[in-house]
């Protein structure tokens, strides 16, 4: 089957909309921590929808393992939605934890973190989105930001930890 053409728009639209959202949330919520939570929650809902959209638009074969799934997400997923790629590295021996690095993070262009918001994880939506996407694929995970360019690191890094492989939930009996 031919790959469906994915409609694309100017990348700055996404970057600026995300920035506007974070700015608005900082006004609406009391603390950075609450904004982080809200971004994570919104990301989760988006991640769930992205999986469907990804499958509908690509010929990707079913991934056999958690490792394969994470690699596809980083390479293909990031490219399709955000026009950049991410790399996966640092797998632990049991293949349950890895590091995802976004080299050219589109969210942080034009952003500077003011001193009074040092607790803000500006890119926290990534964590929620990856967690949501993986959960729909039956991997319950914990995703945390470990490096943040806005806090002086060289690049944006997230740590993905597999907590549980979920079983297919059978439909409830009538």
């Amino acid at each position: 089957m031919a790959r469906r053409e994915v409609k694309r728009v100017n990348g700055e639209l996404f970057t600026m909309t995300y920035g506007a959202l974070v700015a608005q949330l900082l006004e609406d919520y009391e603390s950075d921590d609450e904004v982080n939570k809200q971004l994570d929650k919104m990301g989760y809902n988006i991640g769930v929808r992205m999986v469907d959209d990804f499958i509908a638009n690509t010929n990707t074969e079913r991934c056999g393992s958690f490792k394969e799934t994470c690699t596809t997400l980083a390479k293909e997923g990031f490219r399709m939605f955000l026009g950049v790629t991410a790399t996966i590295s640092n797998w632990t021996a049991d293949d349950k934890e890895c590091t995802l690095t976004i080299d050219d993070n589109p969210l942080v262009a034009f952003v500077e973190l003011p001193d009074e918001h040092r607790e803000l994880n500006y890119c926290n939506m990534y964590c929620g989105a990856i967690r949501g996407a993986l959960e729909l694929l039956q991997y319950r995970t914990r995703v945390t930001m470990t490096k943040d360019v806005l806090k002086g690191d060289k690049d944006t890094q997230l740590t993905i930890t597999l907590l549980e492989v979920l079983d297919d939930v059978p439909p409830p009996e009538d």
Binding site: R8, N10, L13, T17, L21, Q24, M42, M80, L82
Partner: protein
């Protein structure tokens, strides 16, 4: 300033983000009006940022900027700005030459994925608060204050009504 090639994201990434912004507004505001204002404010900031000088968008679109008057700015919005943002132009522009403009978008990107049969209710209105805000913010960056509202004719077409307040 070095001009880098403009990167793109999928339209769906923006759609999902905007849908989430609309849903998230329900955690903050209780009335439809307050939610509408919240979403519009995010659109406004977006439009303003996109067309302020530090953005690559403006340098891309600026090439054709030759403003004689207000109508030129609105034309610029319909052709260049819309093209830079959504990679399409507004299909039709009408004006009464007294500050009221009607912009017809026959395939509005924020609406193309909605099923044709969904009821045009408050949720759809909320979704349109975003492009209304973007237009308002983009015009503000070019020095024009306008009130903007959207009407759906038949999905995925809609029209934006601009009312430019004369100082």
């Amino acid at each position: 300033m070095a001009t880098t090639a403009l990167k793109t994201t999928s339209l769906s990434a923006v759609e999902f983000l905007v849908a989430e912004i609309c849903r998230g507004s329900k955690d903050i505001a209780t009335t439809h009006d307050a939610r509408y204002k919240h979403v519009e404010a995010i659109g406004y900031r977006t439009g303003l940022a996109l067309f302020e000088s530090h953005s690559a968008c403006i340098s891309e679109a600026k090439k054709n900027m030759r403003f004689q008057g207000e109508l030129d700015v609105i034309k610029y919005l319909c052709k260049d700005m819309w093209q830079v943002i959504f990679q399409k132009q507004i299909d039709n522009l009408r004006t009464n030459h007294k500050g009221v403009y009607v912009l017809h978008d026959n395939q509005h990107p924020m609406l193309t994925h909605l099923p044709r049969t969904i009821p045009i209710d408050e949720n759809v209105q909320l979704l349109l608060a975003y492009p209304c805000g973007v237009i308002k913010g983009g015009l503000a960056a070019l020095g024009i204050t306008a009130s903007v509202s959207a009407e759906i004719t038949a999905l995925p077409a809609c029209k934006f009504n601009l009312d430019v307040r004369r100082a």
